[in-house]
């Protein structure tokens, strides 16, 4: 079927108002996460372009279908960036297409720097969206501090197009830093590595990345810590961190722009698992719980980001999701299936009263159940 491709917000609203058939919403289509949706494909590609960019106010407003690359290019020209560091999912998922800024926020996608500066949702200042009745709704604005009414902006972030179709997003951006320093130590076990990362994040030295890969670029485990800033400041903090971390292992410093960029891009995009054929899970946990949790799952390989709080897990194809859910139920946190066997549902099952609130919201925002129906469904329904 040919994609529905509205060119304006009004056209999009009319499509939703007039249809009785479910819609499958696509930005760049690079992130086919969630339960597959049956419905007429609708692309946001026609809703594209940067509407406003004020570098001196750190704000940018763009239509939701704008390619992330276009936003990043505009920002780079002013020495700024998307500080939450959204990943490029194409290598991991083997998808093609052009990731869109709307898709990034619909999936609340944030990379290694999330640990220091916040998630995508923390940078989203305002939204316009079309709800499931075809109404255009506005919330938030384009200023950095705003407590006027309820924060539907946060609600829309991470709702995967099940509450509304984003048409415009206003975001906060940040200046690029001059120098990146990457401290690395090879051969640490998971427990020691996570302890070292926690120590670094608990220091005053403003760590902006803290990751541990069981299989680093040279095969051995590698623990990496990122600091960013001016040359003098990075040198100073790197030296201080080396002292603080000496008890865990010897960390060497790299400040080469190309290699530090490659290091952190590999973590952001989960490169260790590119081209593997296992199932991929993404777990969010309390950092110190992470190594024990991974050890309890048979055949799991892990890439830890966010100081251990984010675990990318590669498990043998066909591993029952239930094992992972049982393990995480003991520690708290949540697990999402990113790629692979969908037996146990994709998203973490919610406690019944919370699931009821979520369902209640969905009924209000999308009473006819047209928007990506079933995509975030609880495991029970998904199985039906």
């Amino acid at each position: 079927m040919k994609d529905l491709r509205p060119e304006t917000e009004a056209e999009l609203a009319a499509i939703v108002r007039d249809t009785s058939e479910p819609l499958r919403i696509r930005g760049g289509g690079t992130r086919p996460i969630g339960v597959p949706v049956n419905g007429a494909p609708l692309t946001t590609a026609g809703l594209s372009g940067i509407d406003l960019y004020e570098p001196g106010a750190l704000t940018l407003v763009a239509k939701a279908g704008t390619p992330v690359a276009e936003v990043e290019t505009a920002l780079a020209a002013e020495g700024q960036r998307l500080a939450f560091e959204p990943m490029d999912p194409r290598g991991l998922l083997g998808t093609e297409g052009e990731p869109t800024i709307g898709g990034v926020f619909a999936a609340n996608v944030s990379g290694p720097r999330r640990i220091q500066c916040g998630a995508a949702r923390d940078f989203l200042l305002g939204v316009r969206f079309v709800d499931g009745r075809g109404e255009v709704i506005r919330n938030g604005g384009r200023v950095m501090k705003n407590v006027t009414g309820y924060d539907l902006v946060k609600l829309m972030a991470g709702s995967y197009g099940t509450l509304g179709i984003l048409t415009e997003v206003a975001l906060k951006v940040l200046p690029k830093t001059q120098v990146t320093g990457s401290l690395a130590c090879d051969g640490l076990g998971d427990e020691t590595a996570i302890a070292a990362l926690c120590r670094a994040l608990g220091s005053p030295f403003e760590v902006t990345g803290a990751a541990h890969s069981q299989a680093g670029p040279e095969g051995a485990a590698r623990t990496v810590i990122r600091i960013e800033g001016t040359e003098a400041s990075v040198a100073y903090r790197a030296a201080e961190l080396q002292k603080v971390l000496a008890a865990y292992g010897e960390f060497t410093i790299d400040t080469d722009p190309d290699s530090t960029k490659a290091t952190w891009r590999a973590i952001r995009d989960v490169q260790p698992f590119h081209g593997t054929d296992g199932d991929i899970w993404r777990l969010s946990v309390k950092p110190t719980d992470a190594p024990g949790l991974v050890a309890r799952i048979d055949g799991a390989e892990a890439l830890y980001d966010w100081g251990g709080g984010l675990i990318w897990l590669c498990v043998p194809k066909g591993t029952a999701g239930q094992d992972i859910r049982t393990a995480i139920a003991k520690t708290g946190g949540h697990a999402t299936l990113i790629r692979g066997t969908r037996g146990g549902g994709v998203f973490q099952p919610l406690a019944p009263p919370v699931a009821a609130l979520q369902e209640g919201l969905r009924k209000r925002f999308d009473p006819k159940g047209l928007l990506n129906p079933g995509l975030m469904a609880q495991a029970r329904e998904a199985a039906e």
Binding site: E54, G56, A57, G79, N108, A119, R121, V136, I137, R138, N139, G141, V143, M144, K145, N146, V147, T148, G149, Y150, D151, L152, V153, K154, L155, G158, S159, L174, P175, K176, A195, C198, L201, G202, P204, G229, T230, A232, S233, Y236, S284, V285, K286, P287, W306, G309, L310, G332, G333, L350, A351, P353, V354, L357, Q358, G360, L361, R364, F365, M376
Partner: protein, 479 residues
């Protein structure tokens, strides 16, 4: 300010309600004597007062749940209350409502430095959260000026900010999880020590919902290690326009100060008379603070000062010591006190795009003449969060009304230039009727639909945030 007429039915059930509350709470936790309920008749928006039917002070989440269940069964509205420092009338009772104060819920439940969080009961004051971790070198970042008194409960309900939020964000960016009780008594957990929501971001939704979606009893908060040091520079200009341009250039240059504070001439003069901080008598003054080691601070301040020099400042004063820093901050920190010393004042907190600063300041000056009331401006310039302080005389008939009309006009201006009505104090009753200037009917209806889901009977803090005319249908349908 109009409030809905109290429901006579509820007023007549007071005795039954009090008996039922006494069944589940200790006697000293139920306040129903009119002489004592007066203590809860207002928050920091003191122009509006109304004693509640009763006030309760539960000590556990279970007690909160029991209170809500009873009120839910009896159809009695509940107004949650932290410390009552809201400037927007968020905690103002109605005659037929029960005040649910969380002041006795003030324990620290867990501190975890490895994972950098603290879990507290929400009646705990903002400053005492930092107090609990300070000796070990940590702090809780959001720092509203009211931090000595205000509670985490109110901070979450209002999504409060502080002087340092340019770097560290506001409450919502530092909140990891909550225990919350829904109006029917159901206890739910959102978030926890891990990051990001499993499902919809309900934590983000309830933060800033002004006590209308549930009563928050516990919170997990992100804590950070204190920076090695911090120092400000004071920069004076002879025009607001130039000061505004300087702010924008500092931000563009890629230094990220923790705070950029702005004061205009009326504010500088008033605080100088009051606090004698030695500020220059100029049109506009910036205080820019940076953090790090001594050398890092010097490097950042040098960058900021070289930017400032390109704008011909009339004063450029770098702090070289803790005493000098305190002196630079003294006037800023006394600004509210200084204004209070002159007269009654109303403090607004509309936010504007930083590029609109000079225009908005000019317009506020013109309006000040038009309304015949003085206004001083002191605000967080880095994020455009204005704080115009309008001076009036509460004892002079009509002055409050003139002041409110002036305030409303300033806030409408903030919206017109692309900003919003409130950046940190919340809507409450104060800005309730201005909401239609910021949002269309459908935008407001969507927000009210959220309340329908969390609180179908509209019993939690019902007459706030939304214009009464807009919320009427929901409140009446729920009765």
């Amino acid at each position: 300010m109009e409030m809905p007429a109290p429901n006579p039915d509820i007023l007549s059930k007071k005795a039954e309600l009090v008996t039922r509350l006494l069944d589940i709470l200790p006697a000293d936790a139920v306040i129903s004597d009119p002489a004592e309920t007066r203590a809860y008749e207002c928050d920091a928006l003191t122009a509006y007062k109304c004693p509640p039917l009763a006030a309760v002070l539960p000590s556990t989440t279970q007690e909160v749940s029991d209170v809500l269940r009873i009120c839910h069964e009896m159809g009695v509205p509940v107004v949650p209350r932290g410390s009552g420092t809201s400037l927007a009338g968020g905690a103002l009772p109605t005659e037929d409502s029960v005040i649910l104060g969380v002041a006795r819920l003030n324990d620290v439940i867990e501190t975890d430095y490895d994972n950098r969080f603290i879990r507290v009961q929400t009646g705990r004051t903002n400053l005492s959260v930092t107090g609990a971790v300070e000796e070990d070198g940590y702090f809780y970042a959001p720092d509203p000026s009211s931090q000595l008194a205000c509670a985490i409960a109110g901070n979450i309900a209002m999504n409060s900010g502080g002087a340092h939020c340019l770097k560290y964000g506001v409450t919502t960016n530092n909140l990891l999880g909550v225990t919350m009780v829904l109006m029917d008594g159901t206890v739910i957990e959102l978030g926890g020590a891990h990051l990001d929501a499993e499902g919809y971001d309900l934590l983000g939704l309830i933060c800033g919902s002004e006590g209308q979606l549930g009563v928050v009893t516990e919170a997990t908060l992100r804590i950070l290690h204190k920076p090695e040091g911090a120092r400000p520079v004071l920069i004076g200009f002879d025009s607001n326009e130039v000061a505004g341009a300087c702010v924008s250039d500092i931000i563009k240059a890629g230094v990220l100060p923790v705070a950029i504070e702005f004061m205009d001439r009326p504010c500088i003069r008033a605080t100088e008379d009051f606090a004698k901080a030695g500020y220059p008598d100029c049109e506009a003054l910036l205080i820019v603070e940076v953090e790090g080691s001594e050398a890092e601070i010097d490097e950042q301040l040098e960058t900021i000062m070289s930017i400032a020099r390109t704008h011909d400042p009339v004063e450029l004063r770098q702090s070289g010591s803790a005493e000098e820093s305190a002196k630079i901050w003294l006037g800023r920190k006394s600004a509210f006190g200084a204004m209070g010393n002159i007269n009654d004042y109303m403090c607004l907190d509309g936010t504007i795009p930083v590029s609109q600063l000079p225009y908005v300041l000019k317009r506020i000056g013109e309006m000040s003449k038009e309304f015949g009331l003085d206004v001083a401006n002191v605000f967080h310039a880095g994020d455009g969060n204005m704080h115009p302080l309008i001076l009036f005389d509460a004892n002079k008939p009509g002055d409050l009304e003139t002041c409110e009309a002036f305030g409303a006009k300033i806030l409408k201006l903030c919206v017109e230039v692309g900003g919003c009505l409130t950046g940190e104090h919340g809507v409450g009753i104060e800005k309730r009727d201005l909401m239609a200037h910021q949002y269309g009917e459908k935008d407001l209806a969507m927000q009210m639909a959220v309340k329908d889901v969390f609180d179908p009977k509209w019993l939690l803090n019902p007459a706030k945030v939304f214009p009464l005319a807009a919320s009427d249908a929901h409140r009446i349908a729920a009765e």
